[in-house]
């Protein structure tokens, strides 16, 4: 979660409002992820850095869209971004869009750090625990990490919110209290 451009968020929000109305989240995400991956190639990045990019990009869009079968909405978005010379924001915008899509569908991405690997039943327990009352545990997407440094317990991170229930944190708090 490095700093993402706020301008990219505007594009993502615009796409999100179209996607939620039309129910085309998956199509948008698939298309844009594909384009963002393509844009990440060094040659294309060099083209994007070119101040005359509008001309170049138009050609590029025509050829790529024919081959990859992007949807017309996607191409319109790319044309808008190209005309405003903001295509460089696309990778950031895709990241934002993933986040907005998760929020719209009620999916929560949670990073769980434990001292030892969690087995399937333990993971299930964590999901049950994290799901809101009446919420669906399946909507809690876990990313598991193992860090023996926390000694025991769990560190649960969701977005920029951390619940630290590790033994290390308790020891640190105890040390601060007794200092």
């Amino acid at each position: 979660m490095a700093g993402r451009s706020p301008a990219a968020k505007r594009y993502a929000e615009a796409v999100a409002s179209i996607a939620s109305q039309a129910g085309t989240w998956d199509a948008w995400l698939r298309d844009l992820t594909q384009v963002a991956d393509a844009l990440a190639e060094p040659v294309i990045r060099a083209i994007l850095a070119n101040p005359n990019q509008t001309v170049n990009i138009s050609h590029f869009l025509d050829s790529r869209s024919m081959r990859d079968g992007l949807r017309p909405e996607t191409i319109r978005l790319l044309r808008v971004m190209a005309s405003k010379r903001t295509l460089g924001l696309l990778p950031d915008a895709v990241e934002w869009l993933h986040e907005l899509a998760d929020r719209a569908r009620g999916v929560r991405r949670v990073e769980v750090t434990s001292a030892v690997p969690l087995d399937a039943s333990q993971q299930r327990q964590v999901q049950m625990h994290l799901a809101d009352v009446g919420g669906d545990p399946a909507n809690v997407a876990l990313t598991l990490q193992v860090d023996p440094g926390i000694i025991g317990g769990l560190v649960i991170r969701e977005g920029d919110h951390i619940k630290d229930r590790s033994v290390r944190a308790r020891l640190e708090t105890l040390r601060e209290r007794m200092a």
């Binding site: 979660m1 490095a2 700093g3 920029d160 919110h161 951390i162 630290d164 229930r165 209290r177 007794m178």
Partner: protein
């Protein structure tokens, strides 16, 4: 108080048994950019304005700008360890400093860390550095004097407890000297006023010299020194006056009296300008941010005299402003002049002419302190102010003409003596009763026949004589209750005249 080992063990057991915090929740973010004492942090969506942030490695910060996805923060302390991607946590606490008697006699940083090598600060209480000033209901008018011990100030520009009096002047005109004298006077007169000296952007050598001076004069034990020196980061310099103010408020709120000097707010404005520009707040006039006025007004509003229901405590503030070539009409000086209850204007010309303290009594005012003067002092000061005003007017003319009429010459003679009388050596604050008697000698015309060079000696000797031969008169001057607004009570004046006559007949030998 001896501490027994069983007590320590029991306290530890209590702490460990009572320790039942199962989880530590915090909001985290990561540093996007860092430099020059500020950091921009991505995330921290739950951060509060002014919240203390933990950068790890024991480095703390203070959230100032809350933006859509990022937080702009100032770093309090060393930022060498912080890099891009460093994880930052919220602490749930507003920035606080230790307060209380444990700080007396100490030199501390704006976050309350000891700088004097005298061991850790023992603080029982912490207070937030940014608080809202007391409201209308909580205040009462200023009416108790705060004696600075400086004759020209106590007589003509009286300061009351709870007042904000600006000290303004060019560099090296004795601004800090007046503060030092005031602090020393509190210790000598045992007024019980706790003093706080906040050094902002000052040379460390100057601060250490002041600390030594206070120590030599026995005033340090009653004083807290908060230092953000010239080499401290702008963030710490910005925080320093608020931290010092919080330490003063501790005494104000428990019904005591405190005195705080901010030396100086010009450098504070510079530090705030630097921080603001680095945080990308829009610049205004002279590139100061739009809220530089508010930055000073909310600080100085915290100096107040509380009403009796709230303990009746007070915090008196002496902000200092350094001018360039005596120009009072620039941005920051005019701002602070309009915030304060008056100003003491120190002038380089006077300083160089040997009139020290170099107070320009014409341009200096105290808007509320008059009500706080003691009766006897008010009785002599009215006359002094008038005589000095006439003298200043005539002195300008007298430089040209040589043929002056008698009345004019008398006025000039009087003025010269009074000007001589108002000179005072540094670190020599004078008690009120001495000041009253000394000024009385001047305004009653006794000095007119004394040679100018002898005025100082006359003053010294007459005060010595009064102390040894008429101590009852000193008490009477001090405790004068007669309600005479502009003139000294006739009975007291008569008694003083008798004593002066006695002195002149018995002890005074004019040289000539």
């Amino acid at each position: 108080m001896a501490i027994r080992s069983e007590d320590i063990v029991r306290s530890l057991v209590d702490q460990i048994e009572g320790f039942d915090q199962r989880e530590r929740t915090s909001n985290v973010g990561s540093v996007v950019e860092v430099g020059d004492g500020i950091a921009r942090i991505y995330g921290l969506s739950q951060a509060m304005s002014g919240e203390l942030l933990d950068f790890g490695h024991g480095t703390m910060g203070m959230a100032l700008n809350l933006e859509e996805d990022t937080v702009g923060a100032i770093i309090l302390g060393d930022y060498q360890e912080i890099g891009e991607g460093t994880e930052v946590r919220t602490t749930g606490r507003i920035v606080q400093v230790p307060v209380g008697d444990g700080l007396l006699g100490r030199v501390v940083s704006p976050i309350g860390e000891p700088l004097d090598g005298k061991g850790p600060i023992i603080a029982t209480e912490y207070r937030p550095v940014e608080v809202v000033a007391p409201g209308v209901i909580m205040r009462q008018e200023v009416r108790t004097p705060l004696q600075t011990g400086v004759k020209s100030i106590d007589t003509m520009i009286p300061i009351g407890r709870g007042q904000r009096e600006l000290i303004i002047g060019d560099r090296a005109t004795g601004k800090t000297a007046i503060i030092a004298d005031t602090i020393i006077n509190q210790a000598r007169q045992k007024t019980g006023v706790v003093c706080i000296y906040v050094a902002i952007g000052q040379k460390e050598a100057k601060v250490s010299q002041l600390v030594r001076t206070l120590e030599e004069n026995g005033a340090l034990s009653n004083t807290i020194i908060v230092v953000a020196g010239a080499s401290a980061s702008a963030s710490l310099q910005y925080l320093a006056p608020y931290a010092g103010c919080a330490m003063g408020e501790f005494y104000r709120d428990k019904g005591g009296d405190a005195f705080i000097a901010y030396d100086d707010l010009t450098k504070h404005a510079w530090a705030y300008r630097q921080v603001s520009l680095l945080l990308r707040r829009p610049p205004g006039r002279e590139a100061y941010p739009g809220d530089v006025f508010y930055c000073h007004s909310r600080l100085l509003e915290r100096a107040a005299r509380l009403s009796e229901e709230y303990g009746g405590g007070s915090l008196t503030a002496f902000p200092v402003i350094e001018t360039q070539l005596g120009d009072l009409s620039t941005y920051i000086p005019t701002n602070v002049i309009s915030i304060t209850d008056g100003q003491i204007f120190l002038q380089g010309d006077l300083f160089n002419a040997g009139i020290r303290p170099a107070v320009n009594v014409g341009l200096s005012v105290s808007r509320v302190g008059g009500a706080a003067q003691t009766r006897a002092m008010r009785g002599v000061a009215g006359r002094l102010r008038l005589d000095m005003a006439r003298f200043r007017e005539l002195a300008a003319f007298a430089q040209f003409g040589s043929d002056l009429d008698r009345a004019t010459q008398a006025q000039l003679t009087r003025g010269q003596r009074l000007q001589e009388l108002l000179k005072q050596p540094q670190y020599g604050p004078m008690p009120v009763e001495d000041q009253v008697m000394s000024i009385y000698a001047g305004v009653s015309g006794r000095l007119d026949k004394v040679d100018i060079a002898d005025v100082g000696r006359y003053e010294r000797e007459v005060l010595q004589f009064m102390r040894s031969s008429h101590p009852e008169l000193c008490d009477r001057v001090l405790n004068e209750r007669q309600d005479s607004t502009s003139r000294l009570n006739a009975g007291l004046a008569q008694a003083l005249d008798q004593a002066f006559d006695e002195f002149e007949a018995r002890a005074w030998r004019a040289s000539s």
